[in-house]
């Protein structure tokens, strides 16, 4: 089995990648601006929902229930989907899912395919697999199109081109769409994309979509979006393949009532998505004539096996935690080395890869808790980050210097006599570095602190020393 999350297994460690991102002031400006706009919109539409906390709790409970009975609901989904005329395939990992998609397309002699709203296809590297089989994929979601034409990678799970500004997008369109001229207004850019995509919608006979939800009761698949390009993809072509992570299942149609309130408000700050497409199998004379669902595991069952962190799979990919995260807001998504960036990526990517790779990601957080606060399904991301840090340490993968420092600190903090001695020792050890009660330079890994910050020196008298003196004074 080969679980693969994009190229995350070979990505540089987060601190190294983040260093580059933080130095890119234009990137930081773009990310800051975009996340500020979405956060503002989200806060407004969440604030006007009086039962928001109850909705969150409901969403959470439905998802938890599904995860506890996933075998049942997946079986139910398959049965219902097949009954409605769909085909269901099971893919253990990225390679298997890619093979299935390619073989379905080859059976239809498809040389081109239009795609919409599938982060999961980036997870399994589907575009590369299609290209290797001589099939050209066209992304049709505007942001995905910008990423594809720019030969770039998505940097946000809802707004994949969030790191690009208007001028950068204009440059990409001019060059890649081979346009002679193009205006500067957002309308001009949207119009160029429309012209470019319409031709594809009318010509290409096969499509691949992702899924926001897969409904077990009816075998339906649901995709929500803002542009209508998804609607074109799932209704115009003769052949439709939906790539669905096994955690996307919800039990019943009625559950959409909860999720279609939680998702748009959290994701884009809208009360409702402009386009909510839900389809069930095939219908004669309407929509695709052939419909396939690929149910993908790719490490999800191993996440499910860990009781302490399985709630990671509750995620509905709204991206609210990215917009709220002060770390993501400094670095953007690429630093996470995975299609899944931000706080949710920091817990999902290493788990999907069985904690073998991306071990720096659980540390890519100050544990400020902003992600948990906005999560529409109440995933306690800080708690899971700590749990995964524990795994990194217990696997013996933490740096030696850190392990020694932690051991020394644990020794010193074991009783008050040792703590007192350590305080005295620190006062002696700091003398080469201290000046007027301030330390400006420290060696080794501690230089990360003193490069830009002063550190207070250990003062001559600790609180416990002061207290002891005071007590002595009082008793005499």
């Amino acid at each position: 089995m080969s679980v693969r999350v994009g190229e995350a297994a070979h990505a540089p460690d987060f601190p190294e990648a983040a260093k580059k991102a933080v130095a890119d002031t234009q990137l930081r400006h773009n990310v800051r601006h975009a996340t500020d706009v979405i956060r503002g919109k989200r806060a407004k539409v969440v604030g006007e929902t009086p039962d928001w906390q109850e909705l969150r709790e409901s969403g959470r409970q439905i998802k938890d229930h599904v995860l506890r009975h996933l075998d049942f609901y997946l079986g139910q989904f398959e049965e219902a989907c097949v009954r409605a005329g769909g085909h269901v395939h099971w893919a253990r990992d990225a390679d298997e899912a890619n093979r299935i998609a390619v073989s379905i397309l080859q059976a239809h002699a498809a040389r081109e395919v239009i795609k919409v709203k599938t982060m999961t296809s980036d997870e399994i590297g589907l575009n590369a697999a299609l290209a290797a089989a001589g099939i050209t994929p066209y992304e049709t979601d505007l942001a995905d199109l910008i990423v594809q034409l720019g030969e770039d990678k998505p940097s946000h799970i809802v707004v994949p081109a969030l790191h690009r500004n208007k001028m950068e997008i204009r440059r990409i369109f001019l060059e890649k769409m081979k346009l002679k001229e193009l205006g500067y207004r957002p309308e001009d850019l949207a119009n160029a994309a429309r012209q470019y995509l319409r031709e594809k919608f009318l010509r290409v006979k096969a499509a691949i979509s992702g899924a926001n939800f897969a409904i077990a009761e009816t075998g339906s698949v649901c995709v929500v979006e803002s542009e209508g390009n998804g609607r074109m993809c799932v209704s115009l072509p003769d052949l439709l393949i939906s790539l669905v992570g096994i955690e996307k299942i919800i039990p019943a149609f009625q559950d959409l009532e909860i999720f279609l309130q939680l998702l748009p408000r959290s994701a884009t700050g809208e009360r409702m998505n402009p386009y909510n497409s839900i389809w069930t199998g095939v219908a004669p004379g309407d929509g695709p004539r052939e419909f396939h669902v690929i149910l993908l595991d790719n490490g999800r069952t191993s996440v499910l096996a860990d009781e302490e962190s399985r709630e990671t799979l509750d995620c509905i990919r709204c991206g609210a935690c990215l917009n709220a995260c002060p770390v993501y807001r400094q670095t953007g998504g690429h630093a996470y080395g995975s299609v899944y960036g931000g706080p949710i990526g920091a817990i999902l990517t290493p788990q999907l890869q069985s904690m073998e790779h991306s071990q720096s990601l659980p540390y890519a957080s100050s544990l400020c808790g902003a992600c948990y606060e906005v999560c529409p399904v109440k995933i306690d991301i800080p708690e899971i980050l700590i749990h995964l840090r524990g795994k990194v340490v217990s696997q013996g993968d933490a740096p030696l210097s850190e392990r020694l420092a932690m051991q020394a600190a644990a020794f010193a903090l074991a009783d008050s006599g040792r703590l007192s001695a350590a305080q005295k020792l620190a006062r002696i050890a700091q003398w080469p570095f201290e000046r007027d009660g301030v330390i400006q330079h420290l060696p080794g890994m501690l230089s990360g602190w003193t490069d830009v910050r002063d550190l207070p020196a250990v003062p001559p008298e600790s609180f416990r020393d002061w207290w002891a003196k005071r007590k002595k004074r009082e008793s005499t």
């Binding site: 544990l367 009783d415 301030v438």
Partner: protein
């Protein structure tokens, strides 16, 4: 009331003035204060960095030290959050019912300093005098774990002479995050730079918080950049009187 101090290891070592200020405020309000000298650390740094196994003996030690303390006051929201958010789970994982019970009994007796004043003692005016402009950085744990909300602000609002200035984007993390500041120094520094920018915008003389950890971080940059703005723990402001700022 006899109030037992959990001063925390870094306040004890690096910020003894905070502890002295807590003693001054509580004694001024007519309470007895004790400091159990056997205390050390709550285990937060080890726990949050993934060294949960090494944090366990610190929890057991703390449970023993404060076993029979009636009310425990801690001038650090992140240490209180460590106790409230993680001790029950750590205790449960030992599988020892006596430890589970000790942890359960400890939790309702632990109060963060401003929480103790406002919730337990029902006081917002501690009779302080501090004629300076002050801005409050609401630390992440105080906001999102302890949900202190406006409690620190209510205390500061009643300090005579004090001009309170709102901090822009106040709910944003300063970038400290314990070992995060070392392990991800560049990102931490970028977050800090945004926080310092907001603090400077207030033109306040003093930046305060209920946590010295965040203040140490913010002050590290304010001091390096020679801004002249000082950081003071909220207890030190509440302990200030007309006869002298350091009570």
């Amino acid at each position: 009331m006899l109030i037992s101090l959990f001063i925390t290891c870094y306040n004890d070592t690096l910020f003894p003035n905070t502890g002295k200020a807590v003693v001054a405020v509580l004694e001024k309000l007519g309470h007895m204060v004790e400091f159990r000298e056997a205390q050390t650390c709550c285990g937060q740094m080890h726990y949050n960095t993934g060294y949960q196994r090494q944090a366990l003996p610190m929890m057991l030690h703390l449970l023993k030290v404060f076993q029979d303390a009636e009310v425990i006051c801690c001038p650090s929201s992140s240490c209180v959050a460590m106790i409230r958010d993680h001790y029950p789970k750590m205790a449960a994982e030992t599988g020892d019912p006596a430890i589970v019970e000790a942890a359960n009994e400890l939790l309702p007796r632990v109060f963060e300093f401003s929480e103790l004043l406002v919730d337990k003692l029902g006081i917002t005016d501690v009779g302080a005098f501090f004629p300076h402009s002050v801005t409050l950085h609401p630390s992440c744990h105080s906001l999102r774990s302890l949900h202190l909300n406006d409690k620190p602000l209510r205390l500061l609002n009643r300090v005579r002479g004090l001009e309170l200035i709102d901090l822009p984007e106040s709910d944003q993390c300063c970038g400290f995050g314990g070992t995060f500041a070392i392990k991800n120094a560049e990102v931490s520094a970028a977050m800090l730079s945004d926080k310092v920018h907001c603090v400077l915008e207030t033109q306040a003389e003093i930046c305060t918080a209920v946590d010295n950890s965040c203040l140490m971080h913010i002050d590290g940059a304010l001091s390096r950049q020679r801004t002249g703005i000082r950081c003071l723990h909220i207890a030190e402001i509440l302990a200030a009187t007309e006869s002298g700022e350091n009570a």
